[in-house]
């Protein structure tokens, strides 16, 4: 059977082999849910980035005579907030800070956690014990509590929010990176690479990174969802940015009192957080199944 297969393949014409990442990319593009999420995210990112050129109202300019207009009011498609500022403009401008504070901690934690996890997983021994036991200590805190504790101790502010969320996510990414690295490190092909005389740096670069980064990246993408919710949550508590800066969590906070007057306008910023969060979650799921080579 196999002998026949052998000769059949021998005879087959030379085919253009698709690389692993090309296959993954093709599968993600073919997945409707992932693509829909990607498009929504691109729209939100692009509008936040290009906000000054979209011809929007001034997000800081309020007016006492047009406070809390309803959704659909002419001139104010999404109504106005408690100080009479245009909600559409504030939601789009609000994306700038909200996305930065939500995503930067994951990027920082990805860089730090991956490095720590790779070292712990590849070197092993005492270094592994030292890194992983430290990580265990941070796992003894629920992540929301840890983020709020650090932010609360450091004081309100965007930088402090980013620092505290980074501290929350580093142990999580480190743990994932360590377990993936340990798994790959024990594979025979790493042994074979060592047996061919390659040093640890070469093995790390050629044989480990490509097999490890994908899984960590997918995990980090899923974390962005949590990070967006937590970052906005810190602002919601008053630990993030300060008024009058537009930011979704803070807007949700200042609009809380307006729920008796104009409830659905007050709920809008949360819908934005939800949209970004669920898109990153679904995208992470889509990438995970696209990268699973077995199916």
């Amino acid at each position: 059977m196999s002998a026949m297969l052998d000769s059949a393949l021998q005879a087959a014409p030379a085919t253009k082999a698709r690389g692993y990442w090309a296959t993954v990319a093709r599968r993600i593009v073919g997945d409707k849910v992932s693509m829909a999420c990607a498009i929504i995210l691109v729209l939100i990112f692009a509008s936040a980035l290009l906000a000054p050129w979209l011809g929007l109202a001034d997000p800081y300019q309020g007016s006492m005579i047009r406070r809390l207009r309803h959704i659909g009011t002419p001139g104010y498609p999404l109504g106005t907030d408690e100080l009479g500022r245009d909600m559409l403009a504030r939601l789009i401008y609000g994306g700038r800070l909200s996305l930065i504070v939500g995503i930067l901690p994951v990027i920082f934690a990805f860089a730090i956690g991956t490095s720590l996890g790779l070292v712990a997983g590849y070197v092993g021994g005492r270094i592994n014990t030292a890194i992983m036991r430290t990580v265990d200590v941070f796992y003894a805190f629920p992540s929301v509590l840890l983020a709020i504790a650090i932010s609360g101790a450091l004081g309100a502010g965007i930088t402090n929010s980013i620092v505290s969320l980074t501290i929350v996510f580093v142990p999580q990414i480190t743990r994932v990176a360590e377990s993936v690295t340990t798994g790959v490190r024990n594979m025979d092909f790493v042994e074979a690479a060592r047996a061919s005389g390659a040093g640890p740096i070469t093995i790390m670069r050629v044989h480990m990174l490509g097999n490890v980064l994908g899984a960590i990246f997918v995990y980090a993408t899923g974390l962005i969802s949590v990070s967006m919710i937590l970052a906005a949550g810190l602002s919601f508590l008053g630990l993030g940015t300060k008024p009058p800066e537009p930011e979704w969590g803070l807007m949700l906070n200042t609009l809380r009192t307006a729920i008796y007057v104009n409830p659905w306008v007050a709920a809008l910023p949360g819908a934005m957080i939800f949209a970004v969060s669920i898109c990153f979650n679904l995208l992470s799921d889509g990438m995970r199944s696209a990268m699973d080579i077995r199916n």
Binding site: R133, D136, V137, F138, A140, F141, P142, S143, V144, L145, I148, A149, I150, G152, A153, L154, G155, S225, M228, I229, A232, G233, F236, L237, G238, L239, L252, R256, I259, Y260, P263, W264, A266, A267, P269, G270, A271, I273, F274, S277, I278, N281, L282, D285
Partner: protein
Amino acid sequence: MFAYIARRIVYVIPIVICVALVCFLLVHITPGDPLVAVLPADASQELAAQLRSAYGFDRPLPVQFGLWLWRALHGDLGSSIATGRPVLTEVMRAVGNTVMLAVAAAMIGFTFGLLFGLIAGYFRDTWVDKVATSVAIAGVSLPHYWLGMVLVIIFSVQLNWLPAVGAGPGGSGAWAWDWEHLRYLVLPAITTSVIPMGIITRTVRALTGDILSQDFVEALRAKGLRETAVFRHVVKNAAPTALAVMGLQLGYMLGGSILIETVFSWPGSGLLLNSAIFQRDLPLLQGTILVLALFFVLLNLLVDIAQAAIDPRIKRS
């Protein structure tokens, strides 16, 4: 089994000490002098020095930590700067309310999570599965504080069925097990239950799929077992893991209650933490976080031991 429990407990001790260290250091990463919050603005140098030595702030850090840990072990977490009452008393009273909220939410989350997970796993890749998994994904992606607001908008503002804030009529502190009080628990508990519900749905769905694809289920079917019996079998196999996940989620709910308690003005540990942060009441901040983290560590330990008791394979690893 005893050896396993002993080993787990021995392993927890260094974690507890490190958790205490992190809580202790929290106060020392705060910008500025920790005395600022206690000192009157026009305090003299002598008064500052006096207070400094009274609080022990003039000693080296490791000594301060040792003394603090020693007192904490004896139940002395200092006094709240704002109210002057012992921190431990304040925290324990608030934790009681949070535990009530978390347990109520856990029951809702566990019941619906198990239900949705079983249905999704059993009818895999049908529209039922799609609905259940969508609910689960939405559950873990929702900003729960926003969900709280939306529920208040619907059930308090629009329909006027349930109260929006507080933990009892007239803002009184006393709790009673009657509908007048329970009404206040409904919205916060549902809001809190959404995340664990999503997580348990996903876990149980995966578990159900795994169990159904195993050979022994095929064997049971081949033996002519009815589908209801197979289903009961799946529930029996999936429930312990779901329960363990729920145990961990209970810990997250205890620690993560601050946002929801702020939305609903629920007088629990989260609201206490909130006021501690904004009044710069550092002993209270430190004490609340320590107590909540220790609860979390304890719950993790209990879940580990319970799981090992159910599944003997775990003890080996």
